[in-house]
């Protein structure tokens, strides 16, 4: 009964999303101001019913209600409570519900701040969000209803996919979706601005914090997913250029371009059409990612069951949303652009390069992800695209991007020339070069040709990001949060680059069959296999090996890689043992019994790999600092909007040029 109530709540949420879309878009169009608040109420109601529906499903999971098919397929009485809750998004139907819930959450956040926007503009933003919500809920209800009953009920469920029974993976979807779906908000702002055909640049100011927060969450989500893949899959890799990974990485790249382009639009009124296009593109790529992952059009390690009906529905949704927004762009953007000049060596031109290179990088990923599909459509046969394509092609736009960054952040707006003395900047480059050579030739020998370059770029980005804040502190100038946040984010990028550089060029790995007592050398480290013992967990049994690691005779750690066999689904899973450290990770994973008491084992040494996730994490923190600082200084939403209604009213035609 309760389950039917949840189902009903989901249907009500769909109806309210429809109402939100209608009142939000039709209200301003027909000049009915009362409808504006109706859109806000509908949005709030939508979220309440979505939360209710989700709550009902969570309850069904907690109480092991195996008369619900989705619960029966993804849970089990032996599953620990935490994973019974996170099993909610362990498969397709629940993931969509989570998607809708997160969008509802973002919508309510917009409702909470809508009073700071001109009423008509705010209503249009909510209306645009309503269209997205309604489409997604319709998709969920029509093709992927999580509330379908299983008659007769089964005594016990099928268990959650064992790969998903892990903390990082369990919490990664909500964070990733918060980022993914957050671009719906900047998308809605762009649509509202285009519907009004605004000539001013205030919309960029209103949109900016939303885009930055979405971008930061997406970055966290991707980093968590990569961290999970690293320690859970046990292959030692942290990025596979898998379609599902690319699906989240492309919106991040375009989102990165967007948050830089918005800055130019907000500050100088330039790049308006770029900003609009990037807002549309970031969200389109999120939707496209959903299409690619959920339709089974592309194969990936993450999905194997194809359902073309879902694909057709998502495709229709894509046509409506992306096609509609791009048509709006083609119609409205020409009248929204403004002309203003800037010098070749100015902040603006560096940000223009930043945008171009990031978009090229996204295009490289997009091309690689879509190539198998395109080849198949043109009957060129099946081809698969992997790291051999992605790694080198991705570097082509990214290396110049990184090399221009230290110059760009120290360039002045509008006027030519670099900020402060160029001498400091070149001094920092020289210092970085020394550090890079010391690290790549001294500490970590055997570099690849690109190693010193990567190290140089990483160090230079970190040091150059510190120049401006240090200079301001020394001259006792204020240090606004926007500058702190930017520096923090760029320092994060620099650390990330250092991490990638050394983990790519100085990783050592070895596969070997050992009997207990046997050992293998890996650089300075020796790994000794001490044997295996049987283990038993709540819902699995398996083997645990002991591996003692020494460095130049000194004991370092003892590793316990495991192999687990899960009772219910019978699947076997290898869990690598990792001794982590800021400067290196040591990994051991246990393979098969190769007979005569010997086991195949895999040992790895990965230097600086922690910097990859640490850097990605710090980048996102930088984004949050910018947004929080903006709010505390009363700039941004509050100040801008307090001014805005007076200037613009809610008659779009009267919007003034910049």
């Amino acid at each position: 009964m309760l389950v039917e109530l949840g189902h009903f709540a989901l249907i009500l949420a769909l109806l309210l999303a429809g109402a939100q879309a209608f009142f939000g878009l039709a209200g301003p169009a027909l000049g009915r101001e009362r409808w504006y608040s109706a859109a806000s109420s509908a949005a709030t109601g939508q979220f309440v019913f979505l939360a209710l529906a989700t709550g009902v499903l969570v309850r069904a999971f907690i109480e092991d209600d195996f008369s619900v098919r989705y619960v029966a397929e993804n849970s089990n009485t032996a599953l620990p409570l935490f994973y019974r809750i996170t099993a909610l998004w362990g498969a397709h139907e629940g993931s969509l519900l989570l998607w809708a819930l997160v969008l509802g959450g973002w919508t309510v956040a917009v409702v909470a701040r809508v009073r700071f926007l001109p009423p008509a503009f705010g209503a249009r933003v909510l209306g645009s969000l309503g269209v997205v919500s309604a489409g997604f809920l319709l998709f969920t209800l029509c093709t992927s209803d999580p509330f379908v009953r299983l008659i007769p009920a089964v005594p016990d469920g099928n268990d959650l996919n064992p790969v998903l029974q892990d903390f990082a993976l369990a919490i990664h979807p909500p964070i990733l979706y918060t980022g993914y779906v957050g671009f719906a908000v900047s998308f809605a702002f762009a649509c509202a601005a285009m519907i009004e055909g605004r000539r001013d640049q205030l919309w960029a100011r209103w949109m900016r914090p939303w885009a930055v927060v979405a971008w930061a969450f997406l970055g966290w989500g991707i980093a968590l997913g990569s961290w999970w893949a690293y320690y859970e899959l046990g292959w030692g890799g942290f990025w596979f250029w898998d379609p599902v990974e690319n699906a989240s990485f492309m919106p991040w790249l375009v989102g990165t371009a967007l948050i830089h382009s918005i800055a130019v639009t907000e500050k100088r009124g330039l790049f308006k059409s770029w900003t609009l296009l990037l807002s549309v593109a970031a969200f389109s790529l999120s939707l496209l990612g959903t299409f690619l992952v959920r339709s089974g059009v592309l194969v990936s390690v993450h999905s194997f069951a194809a359902d073309p009906r879902r694909g057709i529905f998502i495709l229709g949704f894509l046509i409506l949303m992306i096609g509609g927004a791009l048509a709006l762009y083609a119609w409205r953007a020409p009248r929204m652009v403004s002309q203003a000049g800037f010098e070749l060596v100015s902040r603006e031109s560096f940000l223009l390069f930043n945008n171009l290179l990031l978009v090229i990088a996204a295009a490289v990923v997009f091309g690689g992800t879509m190539a198998p599909l395109i080849a198949q459509t043109l009957h060129l046969g099946t081809l698969s695209v992997g790291p051999p394509y992605f790694n080198p092609s991705f570097l082509v736009p990214i290396v110049p991007l990184l090399a221009l960054l230290p110059l760009g952040i120290n360039a002045r707006w509008r006027r030519g020339g670099l900020d402060g003395s160029g001498r400091r900047l070149w001094g920092s480059a020289a210092l970085s070069l020394v550090l890079a050579l010391a690290l790549s030739l001294g500490v970590y020998a055997h570099p690849l040709p690109l190693t010193p370059i990567g190290a140089l770029l990483g160090f230079w980005i970190v040091i150059a990001s510190l120049l401006d804040p240090i200079d301001r502190l020394r001259r006792r100038l204020t240090l606004p949060a926007s500058i702190i946040g930017m520096s923090v984010a760029h320092i994060g990028l620099g650390l990330f680059v250092l991490g990638i550089t050394f983990v790519q060029s100085n990783t050592l790995e070895r596969d070997i069959a050992l009997k207990p007592g046997g050992s293998a050398e890996l650089g300075d480290y020796a790994f000794r296999f001490d044997g295996v013992q049987n283990i038993e967990g709540p819902n699995y049994e398996g083997l645990r090996a002991s591996v003692t690691v020494t460095r130049k005779g000194e004991p370092v750690t003892v590793l316990h890689p495991e192999k687990r066999r899960f009772f219910v689904q019978g699947s076997v899973q290898t869990t690598a043992a990792i001794a982590d450290g800021l400067h290196r990770d040591l990994l051991a994973s246990l393979g098969d019994d190769v007979g005569a008491g010997a086991y195949s084992l895999r040992f790895q040494y990965r230097p600086l790999i922690r910097f990859v996730w640490l850097g990605a994490f710090i980048m996102a923190v930088g984004g949050f600092i910018v947004v929080i600082g903006r709010r505390q200084r009363g700039e941004g939403w509050v100040e801008a909007s307090a001014r805005a209604p007076a200037r613009n009213g809610h008659a779009p035609a009267s919007a003034k040029g910049s």
């Binding site: 096609g323 879509m370 099946t382 689904q569």
Partner: protein, 177 residues
């Protein structure tokens, strides 16, 4: 005139999107159902494997595919379309012209055995690919998939999706001399 040209510039993204749509739609209609995803393995030797047998303790090996025409069918109890094609597979077994070797993909052994005792067993031998490693070697896209392997162990044809009597007649048997 330049005004007009610059206006068209803004329609470029829409045009690019429409092109992409064509690819997506074509991909959707070509892909899983029609089973014409050409495999890079066509015309090449079937990937080697050795899997634990699902019903007998003896392993199922790629060497068993030599010396006669075989149908290699990738299936799993979790896959809805596999249930649909099961009847056709049983008919193929009755025909007796081509033996079917099954790869039970990412499945639970007990469930798989229950499925076979319930629906009948069309397979000559079944290997349990519990971790899906063999399926990766075979370039399996999604269950079910069927491969026609000639006596020299070369993959001659691949069908993605449920096997039907029509597909069996026109695409598979037509290739068997």
């Amino acid at each position: 005139m330049s005004e007009a040209v610059s206006r068209y510039r803004f329609a470029l993204p829409l045009g690019a999107f429409l092109l992409l749509l064509i690819v997506l739609i074509a991909g959707l209609y070509h892909a899983p159902e029609k089973g014409i995803i050409a495999s890079p393995l066509l015309g090449k030797a079937a990937p080697q494997f050795s899997l634990p047998g699902l019903l007998e303790p003896m392993p199922v090996q790629s060497s068993m595919l030599r010396g006669h025409w075989t149908l290699v069918n990738v299936w799993g109890t979790w896959c809805g379309q596999c249930r649909e094609e099961h009847q056709t597979l049983l008919q193929i077994k009755q025909e007796g012209r081509v033996p079917i070797y099954g790869i039970d993909w990412k499945d639970d052994d007990d469930q798989a055995r229950a499925w076979l005792s319930q629906l009948g067993n069309p397979y000559e031998r079944i290997g349990a690919d519990r971790e899906g490693r063999v399926a990766i070697d075979w370039g399996v896209y999604g269950a079910p998939e069927s491969f026609l392997v000639d006596p020299s162990g070369t993959i001659v044809y691949k069908h993605v999706g449920a096997m039907t009597p029509e597909v069996w007649q026109h695409e598979f048997l037509a290739r068997v001399p």
